[in-house]
Symmetry: C2
Subunit: 199 residues, 2 copies
């Protein structure tokens, strides 16, 4: 029902497109956007464009960055012999918050998901294999989410890494099964890092 | 903690500024925005700007519109003798959904709220009084939210309209006390319109 001016209906549609935002919430957000001062709304729009322009993937670990290297890869004090594999940049943030890990990361940007029609080639596995085959890495820690897809992805990568003779570990099951990495509390993550097991 | 690239942190901040959006949700929305194709994100940003540029207030009833008159005021079949006073454009949508009202509207763009520091001059009461004093209006229906602020606003306006000899009614208490107009179901709204009482 196109009751409001089309420019407003379009905005409601755009907000409703966002994940987890229903029609009512989209309406509320669109009305809010109409009500705030022009410069605030324009700055909101420009921030979206700036983020799309300015945010790139780190050339080493594929974490998000505004330069060539992300803040972790740029840090020369990090242990470059250990690489922690996470499903997405939020995973990096979660592990960093535990202050228990001083190695580097590899961001997969997804997990293998037959239901979601995401295969091994759709995520950044090739890039991980290339990093490991370049040498200098002693251990790869799998920190995918503790659910079926994360588990599948970890096992798949672990098999691919076997020929390189690199130690492949995964986070201990201190992390609650079926949960999402990003919501794990720091203490649990710390214990999960300490108790990681060879796989 | 500025862990992500600043362009991304800025976008998270912008989303977190929206009403009802917490930090975690803002992060999720910002990451979504980073992940979708460039043209989709740019179109989102442009839609915000277009809405800010294109959406104005109807010169008669102050409902949102993209021209001079809103879709209701433009409709020549409407009964111009009855004006329904609503707190915001969502109120117009709610009443229209009941298909029980064929008059015009007046959008206050707020309610009197001593706590929110919103006085009678901060909302569009003057404009309503001007419409009524111009003549041609037989009845003003108060459809403010059935809470203290809505009630206060309705009583205040009712007193101001008294000298003009216009009939002032309000929605019957079919609408649940303490609720918000926008979430009332259509049937309840219909009964509330039928049972309106003089005040």
């Amino acid at each position: 029902m196109d009751f409001f001016p089309s420019a407003l209906e379009n905005l409601i549609d755009k907000f409703a497109m966002l994940p987890g935002i229903g029609r009512k919430t989209a309406q509320r957000l669109a009305f809010y956007m109409i009500a705030i001062p022009d410069e605030d709304a324009i700055s909101f729009a420009d921030t979206i464009k700036a983020a799309k322009r300015g945010v790139k993937c780190c050339t080493v670990c594929l974490n998000l960055t505004d330069g060539d290297l992300c803040s972790v890869c740029k840090d020369t004090r990090r242990n470059t012999k250990v690489v922690c594999v996470v499903p997405d940049p939020k995973g990096v943030l979660a592990i960093e918050r535990s202050h228990e890990f001083d190695g580097l990361y590899h961001v997969l940007h997804g997990v293998i998901s037959p239901i979601g029609n995401i295969g091994p080639d759709d995520i950044k596995i090739k890039e991980l294999i290339a990093r490991v085959s370049d040498g200098g890495i002693d251990e790869v820690i799998m920190a995918t989410n503790p659910d079926t897809e994360g588990e599948t992805t970890a096992r798949y990568i672990s098999r691919l890494l076997h020929p390189f003779g690199v130690k492949v570990t995964r986070l201990a099951y201190g992390i609650p099964v079926g949960g999402s990495l990003e919501f794990v509390d720091d203490a649990t993550l710390m214990r999960a890092l300490e108790g990681r097991m060879e796989m």
